[in-house]
Amino acid sequence: MSGGLTGRLRGRVGLIAAALLLVVVAAMAVAPWIFTPLDPLATDTSQVLQPPAWGRPFGTDQTGRDVFTRVVYGASYSLGVGAGATAAALVVGIIVGTLAGLAPRVIDSVAMRGVEILLAFPEFLIALFAIAVLGPGPVNVATAVGVAAVPAYIRVARAETLVVRRSGYVEAARGLGVHPLRVAVAHIVPNTLRPLGVIATIGIGTTIVAAAGLSFLGLGPQDPTPEWGLLLSGGRNLLGQAWWVAFFPGVLITLTVVSATVVGRRLRRAGEGRA
């Protein structure tokens, strides 16, 4: 009995911690100056490669820039790409998925065949192929991770559409002679959004890691930009002398992604419980 209770409590604590962390990271992205008085680009030759200490919790890098400040300012790029690419992928996924769900069977099955093939690959690999085609650059990184995320949303949007299109209110709207486009936009799409929102929450995490990975490889923004993946690759050559330069940005990426996953899974379970 008590095991179940502490288990539930532990789950609750994890969920609250995860949600809180997401709020903090979002705050960093929107208003970084609340968290640090320093400039992420300001170099200071008297403070080169200083280990973590009071006042500079993550230490400094090889040009004396404060790593904590750079991580805080990096949140806006990483979270921006994560949220932006996910939102764009969600919109494309809803449009294509809804159309596939409403289209004749032949078109639907051809489209789904392609989606299934893409879903068999990790998103990072698809993003890498997209970059191979588009070429490197910060905007292309956002596009590539967005493209990689689309197939999952198409699949869910289509599956939901197939369920919703048979429901009474859609039949009723059709029977009343409402224009098919209006039926799709006003009646079908709104009722498919809930499960899509859940996977998008988890998807933001995946997208952040993929974008950071591409930046880490030098395919995205370039040096002075405080971007999480770039901070890590800058720290790679300093590992022998200054582990903190690469370590802390990675901790923040991991915590953000874990939090998004925990919150997303929780939402999914809540959704299943209701269904």
């Binding site: 990975g213 880490f216 582990w243």
Partner: protein, 314 residues
């Protein structure tokens, strides 16, 4: 009958490879920028006449359809073109580096399988399973390049157990392989555990227990087989993780390999190499899918082709 199925299967595989080759060709033709400029480099000051002669030499002045057909016919003959950057045939570039990446992928897969099996089969009890599932979540969520950097900083720079970079013997293989293996093990472990828990409730387990099968025999002969099916479905995903992981890990550990070739080709817009790698990846996936299908039949006695069923009846 069997011959016809094999032929259909081979045709299906060829269609996928052809599709990938065509997609790569079309998309890369749509990319803005003149390939001749890419070849010569940004700084080069070549005269328009020289550029035109290079274009003619490469057949880039031909209509798109002609270029496509000659591209396909060269592919069939195993000619993937010449790297702009290295001035070597693409097949040679890939061939030189393939061994390193294969080694890395095989080692990663082996480590991931061991970790996932240990986690799924041997870890019992609520608390231990809870801890393991948190570890799995962490392994899946952490960026692989960060795992690599942490391993590097602790075991290579800190403890000095492993070399910091390079590909020289088994010592230099362990950390890179572990980096790729951890996220893969996380996913595999989750699927295997769910599969095992699901198998516990199957009627064949009850009957095996009734026949007096002990726990070890039960897992090895019965439930693991059942759990392997959903894990096998992930084969394509895992191979993708190994390849994507290779790109990142070879960069982190300064190892030679296909990932490095791919990265440098992408950064420098070395289009023949990019296309070669896309087609090569498609071939790998087609072969993996074939192996997976064969493995399904070997693992699950319920999946039988008509011919083997007849043979079984005899």
């Amino acid at each position: 009958m069997v011959l016809r199925r094999i032929l259909a299967r081979v045709a299906g595989m060829l269609v996928v490879v052809w599709g990938a080759a065509t997609a790569a060709f079309l998309v890369l033709k749509l990319v803005p920028g003149d390939p001749v400029d890419v070849m010569l480099g940004v700084s080069a000051q070549a005269s328009p006449e020289l550029k035109q002669s290079i274009r003619v030499e490469l057949g880039l002045d031909q209509p798109l359809a002609v270029q496509y057909l000659s591209y396909l016919s060269r592919l069939v003959r195993g000619d993937f073109g010449t790297s702009y950057q290295l001035r070597l045939p693409v097949t040679e570039v890939i061939g030189q580096q393939l061994g390193y990446t294969l080694q890395l992928a095989a080692a990663s897969l082996a480590i991931a399988l061991v970790i996932a099996l240990v986690g799924a089969v041997l870890v019992h009890g609520r608390a231990a399973r809870g801890v393991f599932s948190v570890l799995e979540l962490l392994a899946i969520s952490s960026p692989p390049f960060w795992i690599g950097l942490v391993l590097l900083s602790v075991f290579a720079f800190g403890l000095g157990w492993f070399p910091v970079a390079g590909a020289d013997g088994i010592q230099s293989l362990i950390l890179p392989a572990l980096t790729i293996a951890l996220p893969v093990a996380g996913i595999l472990g989750q699927v295997l555990r769910t599969g095992l828990e699901d198998a516990e409730e199957q009627p064949f387990v009850t009957s095996a227990r009734a026949r007096g099968a002990g726990p070890a025999r039960l897992v090895l002969r019965h439930t693991l087989r059942h759990a392997a099916i959903p894990a096998l479905t992930l084969a394509g995903y895992i191979v993708g993780s190994l390849l994507g992981g290779a790109v990142v890990v070879e960069s982190v550990f300064a190892r030679p390999g296909l990932g490095r070739v791919a990265l440098s080709a992408i950064t420098n817009r070395d289009l023949p190499v990019v296309m070669g790698i896309i087609v090569f990846t498609a071939i790998v996936f087609v072969l993996v899918n074939l192996l997976v299908d064969l493995a399904y039949r070997a693992i699950d006695p319920r999946i039988h082709t008509p011919t083997t069923a007849i043979r079984g009846a005899r």
